[in-house]
Symmetry: none
Subunit: 304 residues, 5 copies
């Protein structure tokens, strides 16, 4: 399969990476219905760890079964499926070779007494389970952020040496950052930039609001036009090395389909690389989720 | 000995595991009177570490001898025997090949100043002692939970590579979890789910009450019917990857035989895989314990 | 991409392998025009090492460039491309993600004073270069065969742990084996079986003649009908664990197209998995090679 | 290329270093327009980590692209370019061999809840990316200074063994040091001296004021003449082993060109080795920055 | 320093290498008077090991001093200097940063009882001594060739990981190769090709004669025109991945200047990358050697 110029251009941006890592990035960029477009839709299912099983799956009980998610991602023609160790182990053999997987290697939970995460998977796990990437969450702003950076530096270096890509979920939280500030534009762009500086190949952040959280940043943002979400996405993309790193946006809490479609359009129009949509898919009935994902894919293909 | 479809179906769920690990799971699933049923009764004797010897064994002095427990488990036709290093070492030769053993590799004690555990055994110990699995306790909710997760990730990866199964005791405790909440349904299901996500082959949790501890979870549970223990067991099983992982329930503090029989019926009716019963056996006279275990086994065989 | 039952059935035969290795086998089995058929055509270019550059490429000078072979394999829609370290390094970045690659990790040469091979690549190289498999040649019958078996045992074990598949080229040679015997049916089947016993995922042997080399084997072969090449292929397939291991056949020295088409038909009719064709492709002009490969692919698809 | 006596004399001061480290120091000392003068101008771009992308680059949007900085440093004929992992990775291949690079291996950020830094790069990264040095920031005075010293001791020892030079950014901060004191002469000289004592090859400090912060130091400074910046620079140079270690001064926050030129003259006249100028370059339009850097270089060449 | 398109194009051929290795190749390609031309002249001084000191240096006694050779290479404006450990150690500090060095990591000697080499240096040595590459000799055809290939595979992999380039001296010798055959065209091209397949960045071979040594190769060479040395060089270049790998030619035994100049013209006209000239330089008086090297450099610059 010859890669088209769009994908070649994206891979060329990862100029310090070995061919193994690029091959895994290429797998993600050529999988599913968006293969070859440079756009991605990723299904992440780490809600069970973060919020517990009932809050995650009770609304759609078939989703208690890890293989439900593999099937959903494959049948919807998504770009990749991301989940913690146990979830990947429960389907990695059945679905080997059917969709690129991202092993979420650290995880928090609702009862955590600090804003931090446990390491729950390794690069060796990713290799034996055939994953194309590891996924790691950092909480910029939290007390434990330096420890987390040390961890991802080690894991990412190990991964890069064996051809595994690195995805960083960068969620500002804790410390001096206000609840509202977690979604502010300056904070979101900064969080994305940190992930890029840490050497991430793919960066996942939340869609930002037009708020500016940091006093010191007000000045630099005041003359910008941040009135539309697409413009805010464009700014986050700028913060990801002017588009040299892939950036995808999370859907956040469950919301209406129309809002999701608008998000996808804004991400597309702002030059973002796509969506990582968890709860908004597996907390809907399968048929409805498939229909919604099909429409989102059409949006990313500029067909809607 | 051909494995019957019930056992084959259970083993098939562990699809990412190597044949060595599956063979050890098969040993547990085919041992004793419940062999081949997919049900398990396991004897755990880590009370000495947790509560001290007198509180554990004075009521039934022969139980001070580690070989007492091996004999009890074998004579009762149980599925496996679980204990800390010293207990296993004191009988592993005499009873080699007679019953699957689970080396409990971490342990707390009554004097612990934190809600945590020490690593007191290793995968190498499990290999040299012929154990089929390692057992590890986590305390979701405690301050040290992330450290414990790091530990079990390492030990479990090591065990899986050499064909040793992993059993996780998941006991919510500490942090914001109330004493009552430790047994609540939402917390129990979440704790079981975390163990599954960490890659456990067998999950051990407590039988939950109908309480809901977490405010955020009230909504998702409010329309469910949790009035019977069997229904609650069914929910925990759901949280264990919709039954893709073996889940057994602990008997808790010593209680009357009838209560234990009812527990077993409820576990059976809810689709749980069995019981792990310590104090309720070895703190009774041997004959009484054997009789009780025989009856529990008949219940799991649907004979009572 | 959902795998079809044909491919699932092949992968199921590798039941002791981890999902990572299966994913790499799946990549080979789903690549190119034969993707999903269970048939393979692989381009191997190790002739330069074995016979020198001029004997390999002078007849078709563009083939001196390693990227020529990558392009040929991709444009022809082949299943994989196999070559030594330097050849893979010279194109692994340009063609990352475009075709599964097999790193040939040992190599002989025309001047070798023993029937043996040097290790010229490693599993680490395979990982950093994004290869799906390592390829290793053994010479059953040679003085050095036990050393070679020790080497592939170590490399294959390392590869399996990190999800890399193993291809064994099994070429009987040396010792008491006569030149004619190298191609005899009993020797060929034996060589294929040894590769299977060594743990190969994919076995490469030569198309055997109807000769029987070993005196001790005459008795067991005498009542068989080995008159057609398809029947001989079927016997070699039998020797590869009754079809549980993929077996592909080499085209040998350059020959006429019609002979190659007949070989492909015989391999197909005998239940072999395909061809590994080197000199017969790159020693022809590119257009002619593409046309020939297209026809061979149609044969394997039962279209001719 | 023969090194001139100026450069040889500087290298001779690093008499305990191996030739690999000296070769990398020589690369920095011979690069760009100041090559061979013993003077340096270094471009550091870690502002994105420290202050976020918009505060760093919004004023000059092309600077969001990491390659902008490589090009600026090369086109301006600077001595080296320093940046964190992600920034270096995004241009290390394109600009390989074009300018010495310094991998900034620790980084803080605006939201840090302690005066500390995360390790975000390693000596192995420096080797694979072709960097001539690692850069490390310490905050003398902060609670975490001993940890930071432990870290740089380990990393610097590792770097020296493989021929990589060490640059220490020494910024007094925290503890009993007042805000004003951070820039005082005694504190600045002390901070520079600590970096020298830690084994730095190149020391980066801020230009000090004439204030004396430490009561115990007043006596020793009272008879000195610290009225000019050049004299203060000379004192800091003294603190860097009487000039046996290279010391460069940071430009601080963006300021007018004339102030920067005066700084350069003072550094030159005081015997300092040069400037490390970040924001004052990349926060100006490229043409203006190039013009300014050209003039600074002329100043260091004694041409203005 | 911006690299020109000639050098960029050469570096691009090393597409699987990390930026560190490319930076070291760039150093060699930009050093000396031929910097930026894509041509190289390298001074190798391993004759002392191979032939003993008197046979190497008695004719020009100043050459007993290792620093003589460093100076000669620097003063002549060569691209690199290659020598065994002791020779490099004796000048690496004095000449740090003045010329790229190649640590010859294996060496033979006149008394060797087998056609083989001892490992006399390591990648760690190369790093501590600031070398840009390791150099390794193989003797294709010899009994020990497979062991040598194993050694260079390991050392080269280690070197590539830390950004050190690999130069392979490929000298056919031993086994069935006749003395005359060592210089034959087919053997020389094959030897160069093997070095390329082993992953060498720079290949060093001897200028071949028009003889064809191997019977099997006669056919493929018979229609070629090998009458001029330039055409033979072009063929060797072809064998080095059609020019994707740098190939330099050795001057062989001491000969007249005119012959050397003609060699250089032929190498240039045939598309070779340059000369590696040892005895022909250091066995001449320094002035004469400098004059000769200046003329060779002018030839490579197309000025003569």
């Amino acid at each position: 399969m010859t890669l088209n110029p769009t994908i070649k251009a994206i891979l060329d941006n990862y100029e310090s990476d070995n061919p193994g890592t690029k091959a895994n990035l290429a797998r993600i960029l050529t999988a599913g219905h968006l293969g070859g477009t440079g756009k991605l839709v990723i299904l992440p299912v780490d809600q069970g760890f973060e919020h517990g099983p009932a809050r995650s799956f009770a609304i759609n009980p078939p989703a208690y079964d890890p293989q439900y998610h593999y099937k959903l991602a494959i049948d919807a023609g998504l770009s990749a499926y991301a989940a913690p160790l146990g979830m990947i182990e429960a389907g990695a053999d059945t679905f080997a070779g059917q969709i690129p997987t991202i092993l979420k290697v650290n995880s928090s939970n609702s009862w955590a007494t600090s804003i931090s995460q446990a390491i729950t998977g390794t690069v060796d796990d990713a290799l034996r389970l055939g994953c194309s990437a590891i996924g790691f969450t950092i909480y910029p702003g939290s007390d434990g952020i330096f420890d987390a950076m040390n961890e991802i530096r080690e894991m990412s270096a190990e991964a890069k040496a064996v051809g595994i890509a690195t995805v960083i979920w960068s969620y500002p939280r804790g410390g001096d950052i206000s609840k509202k500030g977690e979604l502010s534009l300056d904070v979101g762009a900064y969080a994305a930039h940190m992930a890029a500086l840490l050497g991430a190949h793919i960066i996942k952040v939340k869609l930002p609001t037009a708020d500016i959280e940091q006093k010191e940043a007000v000045e630099v943002y005041k003359n910008g036009d941040w009135s539309t979400q697409a413009k805010r996405v464009a700014h986050v993309r700028q913060a990801c090395f002017a588009g040299r790193r892939i950036v995808v946006f999370s859907g956040g809490a469950t919301k209406g389909s129309d809002a999701l479609y608008q998000d996808a359009r804004d991400i597309r129009d702002g030059g973002g690389n796509g969506s990582i949509i968890g709860r908004n898919t597996f907390q809907r009935p399968r048929d409805e989720a498939l229909e919604m994902l099909a429409k989102i894919i059409r949006i990313y293909k500029n067909e809607e």
